[in-house]
Symmetry: C3
Subunit: 396 residues, 3 copies
């Protein structure tokens, strides 16, 4: 393995920022058809958004430093892996008012393939009791899915690591902070290899405060056509599946399969207790009806014990999509998650690590292989599917 | 008519954005003193605002793509047609927090001559019942005059169309959108001809959702000195005029004439039922005391059945201004407008068209001619002026 | 004294804005090692923030036009005078949602050494009764410390004035405005001399409205290590000191001395009635334990009658800091300040002037001299220190 080619694109502490940048094989005397291309969007609602496109020769995705290092616009050999949000983003965070619409303002900017929800909180908007500057415990509003996706990274770097399978890496640091508020620093390493069908996100969240801090983190991974379609199926090794609410309970008989686009469809969410191998490694696969196209996400359930399935098979105009959402918590209001011990407590200086790999599968064989993996994890474990919401998972 | 000279200034879907641009007669081998000049404002509260100045040789106005394609800074042969807002804008939307001050934050950016209010809602801030992501009907806050004026256009184009009277056109597309939210697309065509005293705005609002959607739209056309002055008058063919509230009722005896600048003046609003010709075409004229200067707005009352007069003859420092406001609705809280069937219901994919023309008049003859037009429309129809607010128009 | 070298960096009314600029001795045929350097920050949460660094050869500070002309990053001969906020700013105002967290959103951008709080209101978030567009008195939310620190200047100029001690000046104008809202214009002149240990801020706030207007103004001057440390002391000539609340009362026995960094420390605030000379001139000094390093702020108590001490000796990670805060008011909720006649009433066109000088002391002798000044002001006046909050100062 040769020496990595490293380029710092943003470092606010050193007043470094690169408006546009491109690196490809010719620039570094390597072979292949890959490139990394950094641009700054101009004009419209995305004016000022930094975008780093990584093309490993097969898998293409963009990283959005301005939107908390989210992953956008993924495709593999021309197969789209994301979804078509009614938001034609990316949208600059300065135009997203999280407080709007009873705390649902986050939805004005939501169009990523993988977007982190957190870090101080995520899930449904709610009131929670927090400590204010005067040390008083007071009620405050938490907004949908927190702030991290609308916080620009203060440090961004790209690396090309030569080798048999050259590696392409984007690292970033995003700080959710404020005096008297949480001070959570995300460092992320997003990497892929030349020709690979996979991208891996390795995250570390550090509590920068001198006092303990709460943390919630969820990876909202969103997929539409062509993998999502009528008859598509979500396959997850699980001990338990429960509907979030009465609406989800309506569909419990077919919770793991999907409708075609259905105008007026109201979202259904299901909570999963997943099964991992002896080290906690697990996976979830969304596959199409013919079982020859799929997306797989791999992660460790020790770090991300909760898994949420979000079904939103509305019309394509309204965002025909499903979300696969591993998290430290379920996206319930934080007080409920806290009561159920799913909010992470970070000591001063403590770090929390989580990682997730997204894979694109485009053959029947590859899908079958992933199915076998899932079956192996499921083997010997009963899967209980609850017909009704379950206390401790839902506020029933 | 020759081939149009077309220049795309913004197209976010193609990552096109032009920082500055100018076109004049020499650039296209034409005669005249006209120009179109696109600049991007830098520094201060307007940093990043795109501005397109159109000068047809007589009428000058600016289009603000970053502020929802509003019309700013209009003058005709040196006669100012807009007003002097206490806001010395344009202000970038990212600095306007619509939720501020009980939902009046829109007022921090308001200084256009013509600004659209809408598209999902406009009018006074209020609570309304909306459907959230979970399909639940919940109360949410609507803010003053909606979002469209603080939403940047994602596509902007200018055209110069040669001919006997060359035409200058700015087109734009602005999307009010978000997952689970309304998805209303405005396309606008703003045009004028060389030497003309008029500019025409042709709008189309499309419901991009797969389900029906509500829509409100109002053109807030604002004028100050020199047309507005002590003794100025608003002339509108109308069957009915009603005061909005007790404050407006105080001034009902002189609702159609104006005071000079009056420190501490509290706004008075009047609702009109206008009269159009057989096709619905109508007009409203604000003329000065001597009846030798005026602004006329022309539109079709089938598309814009409601007309609101906003009198705000405060001190010049505080914004001495009157608003002529044709709309699909009156700017009441949306629940009230809905109850009175003035909120437009758009089927999936349905379009709503509206247009408005602004004319500058600078001679006694021109004013007299417009007066004759208005008199002709009024002829044979009684005009009822209510002394008190009227149920159905005001929430009395 | 020679003719001043003047450079306009921002003038939105003339569409002037300079992205980067530098002036030093060579540029103007002068001696010395001073410079003024204007840059525009790019990337991260500060993207688009204008920053003017003034280095007089000994004292270095930055002015932030985009953040209301606040003072950032002060040092004197290498001695840091500001503090290390958990916010690693500057943060662009468009990313600060003042309404967040029950009105504490201002804290997401707070990392200045000197930041103005105001102009319409400052202090704790609260509900107040204001007049809306319809002339109605309604309840609205006021947010922590108001808007001025998150309002970009619309005019900025730098001057170099030759002479025996050349002077370096940054002037700016910031407008807090909106239709039907307050219309307060701040003009500031920030100046220092070559080799000086001091910077002076001369402010004028003008009520631009045609009707009377309220105004609050407080200079939040914030200092951390090395001056602030265990055993550091605040020295202020005062007739009276009172704790803000029960938490402050706990520490009344040592209100004027400081702890080292203390994880979990909850802020303590004290109100002062200061003593000035016959013209009202007074000073406050924060000095280190050894009394050989200090910061002094000088101002006139006729203009700034209220003085607040903010102790926040939390861990260094959480912002180990104390605030010296001369103001026209105490930072209580505005209704309380109004009731106690500490909200300024400005007639139409009226101006309010205030000035503050920050000095860095780095010798025992200089500290002793300032102590002697303070002692002289205190001489003959009793200092009453209240053990409990006092009515009229706190809402008890």
């Amino acid at each position: 393995m040769g020496k990595a080619h490293v380029k710092v694109l943003t470092d606010t502490s050193k007043r470094v920022w690169v408006e546009s940048y491109e690196i490809g094989p010719k620039d570094v005397g390597m072979a292949g058809t890959w490139h990394i291309r950094k641009t700054t969007l101009r004009g419209g609602p995305g004016d000022g958004v930094d975008l780093i496109e990584v093309n490993n020769g097969a898998l293409v995705f963009s990283v959005l430093p301005t939107r908390g290092m989210g992953i956008w616009n993924v495709s593999y050999k021309g197969m789209v892996l994301g979804w078509q949000s009614p938001v034609r983003g990316p949208v600059h965070p300065s135009l997203v008012n999280a407080l709007e619409r009873g705390g649902l303002g986050w939805l004005r900017g939501f169009d990523e393939t993988i977007v982190r929800c957190g870090l101080e909180s995520n899930g449904a908007p709610c009131r929670d009791v927090l400590t204010n500057n005067m040390g008083q415990r007071v009620e405050m509003d938490l907004t949908l899915h927190g702030k991290i996706a609308n916080t620009p990274a203060n440090r961004v770097e790209v690396q090309v690591v030569p080798g048999v399978a050259p590696q392409f890496v984007v690292t970033g640091q995003v700080c959710e902070t404020g005096l008297f508020l949480s001070q959570l620093r995300l460092t992320t390493r997003i990497s892929t290899r030349a020709g690979s069908n996979a991208v891996t996100i390795e995250d570390e969240v550090t509590n920068m405060k001198g006092v303990p801090s709460e943390m919630e983190l969820l990876y909202h991974c969103n997929f539409g056509p062509p993998v999502l379609e009528k008859g598509a199926r979500l396959e997850v090794p699980a001990r338990m599946v429960a509907p979030r609410d009465a609406r989800a309970a309506e569909g419990i008989g077919s919770f793991d399969t999907y409708l075609g686009s259905t105008a007026g469809y109201v979202e259904q969410c299901y909570w999963y207790e997943t099964i991992g191998d002896k080290d906690g490694n697990t996976l979830a696969m969304l596959r199409n009806a013919a079982a020859n196209k799929a997306v797989v996400i791999r992660y460790n359930r020790n770090a991300l014990p909760c898994f949420t399935q979000w079904k939103n098979t509305a019309s394509e105009d309204d965002g025909y999509v499903t979300g696969l959402e591993p998290g430290v918590n379920f996206p319930n209001p934080r007080p409920f998650e806290r009561a159920n011990k799913r909010v992470v407590q970070l000591a001063p200086g403590a770090r929390y690590k989580a990682a997730i790999t997204l894979e694109a599968l485009d053959t029947k064989a590859a899908v079958a292989k992933a199915q076998a993996e899932i079956a192996a994890l499921q083997a010997g474990a009963e899967r209980v599917v609850h017909a009704k919401p379950v206390a401790g998972y839902s506020d029933v």
